[in-house]
Symmetry: C2
Amino acid sequence: MGKPTVHDIARVAGVSLATVDRVLNARAGVREVTVRRVQEAVSRLGYVRDLSAANLARQRRYRFAFLLPDTPSQFLRVLHEAIDEAAAGLSADRLEIETTHVAIGDQVALQQAFRRIETMGFDGVAIMANETPMVRDMIARLKARGVAVVAMITDQPQSERDHFVGIDNLAAGRTAGVLMGRFAGPGPGKIVVAVNTMQARDMVDRRMGFDEVIATRFPGLTTLPTIEGWDNHQMVARVTAQCLDNHTGVVGIYCAGAGLRGITEVVRARGLADRLTIIGHDLTPHAREMLTDGVVDVIINQNAGHIARSAARVLKAQCDGVEVIASQERIRIEIVLKENLPQGAYREDKT
Amino acid sequence: MGKPTVHDIARVAGVSLATVDRVLNARAGVREVTVRRVQEAVSRLGYVRDLSAANLARQRRYRFAFLLPDTPSQFLRVLHEAIDEAAAGLSADRLEIETTHVAIGDQVALQQAFRRIETMGFDGVAIMANETPMVRDMIARLKARGVAVVAMITDQPQSERDHFVGIDNLAAGRTAGVLMGRFAGPGPGKIVVAVNTMQARDMVDRRMGFDEVIATRFPGLTTLPTIEGWDNHQMVARVTAQCLDNHTGVVGIYCAGAGLRGITEVVRARGLADRLTIIGHDLTPHAREMLTDGVVDVIINQNAGHIARSAARVLKAQCDGVEVIASQERIRIEIVLKENLPQGAYREDKT
DNA sequence: CTGAAAGCGCTTACAG
DNA sequence: CTGAAAGCGCTTACAG
């Protein structure tokens, strides 16, 4: 009556449970005829196996490592929390997630972290790191050992990673460009652009997308040379201040990387919040506050919760040898204004 | 060594498995002392029960009914597909979802559908319907029988529904207002506003939010009296055309309900796509196309996939007596431009 | 190449 | 009020 089980298959095919299991799991050592008999029963009865019962029986656990840079940015804190939250939610599915922070740019430490993952026998790894030959090699080693690998936030396009969980930064830059053009008016005017470092592909992509749109669609606006902030608020604040001193007619600031705090400080101190259009990335607590206060006009966001859960789901699917539903795993480029700011989405105090 | 199981609890508490189970599931008929002994063992060992093993043992299935209007809009087709997709993904968790379409506005048919759900013994129901006293009563009946109930897309605030899965339409209207104000320029200019019917609360909320922002922040713009389109493209097209004939200086159109197709037809026929800012709701295939072609400037979207999955998750949590993670179940007001249009997110052909 | 039996972590009649 | 035993759907040694 109910859904067919292995017992039904065994009965119909006239074999034992063990044999059914062998065929179902494509294990060797079954005669061709027997395999066929079982497969026929399977398709005749429309059998579909119960993965969670299977996982229970084999005591399957999925051990995933998440490798993050130790950037002291709020976004990384938000991401880390999102990963912990995802881990808590998925522990019922026997997923175990361990998060490791590695000093940014420290290739030796990063390589050690990879080695550790390799020896500890993790089933999957999610990596957020800049592209380097070392990272590429380590990914290749992991893949050779059958470990599932996804790149997170920053893609590793040259590597053998199974999947990329993150946004298209060129498109994100274009999106910022259109909104800047529309919000800051037709001009004439100058736009300040700040990034962490032009050595990161994400930043280069965002800047390219942004410039392309401004140049082709908003001829009244010009973008100034890139400010590099190196994840340092004070440095960003200082250079932004200089930039505002040196240029008249600035109408907007695009903060493509971390360091938004430095920019908002300068803008507030000079009382320019109403006159400038400010667009930043990533919905951190500080960004939320600035949006609410009307200092920042737009935040382009990559949803940390979605990224964490998607990475975990994709790794699990890879381990199970199952296809992911692509449309469900696509990370969107979210546009956040004060008006559509998700209420309390950053942190739910559980009290 | 590994995680503690019921066997460990039984051993430590010095009772049988059956008794452990009784205490764990808060069933009656256990002496106070025994209960305490078991509970102590539980907290001492840090036991946390394996829900999927429990569900396997009790052969638990979750049967949910989704009740949708039979509006012939593309959005409803998208939603229905999203529900089917969610159902497929969740069948591994023993969720079974049945979707029923009911003729919109037909209170008798709707009541029959409710009655059927009641007698068929569903575990949960997700409802998308206009607020009426009948709906409120039927929800109360279902709740009295212990059925989990969520309102979807359209809230039923006066009812006993457990949860609302959808967006804040007032905020959505405000979001549309800000974007219209920024995109259509400071004015002077007039804005056409179209809805399905002002009898639906969603539409009233969107219109209110929109007007509020335009009135207070963009004094150069004025909104024209509402056009009602009754989910009918031709009617929308006709009335929009009239409206454009009667008014000079129209700079934008806000389509708060279905019928975007009627508007885009008129706008294209008159070659006004470049001159007008057009903002609509819901990322249907047609909306995607218009966004890509540059006819529509902004789509405010409520993600059908998120809504379907969230509704299912919330219903399941309700059945399990488990808290949901609020931040994870909040449906966002998505802003979609041509630039951040998710690639192929609407439909993945599996070929 | 194949099968009988025990077990994964939990629940459910049935006895007592 | 409590326990021994069987079972959910699947997998895993161990025999043969």
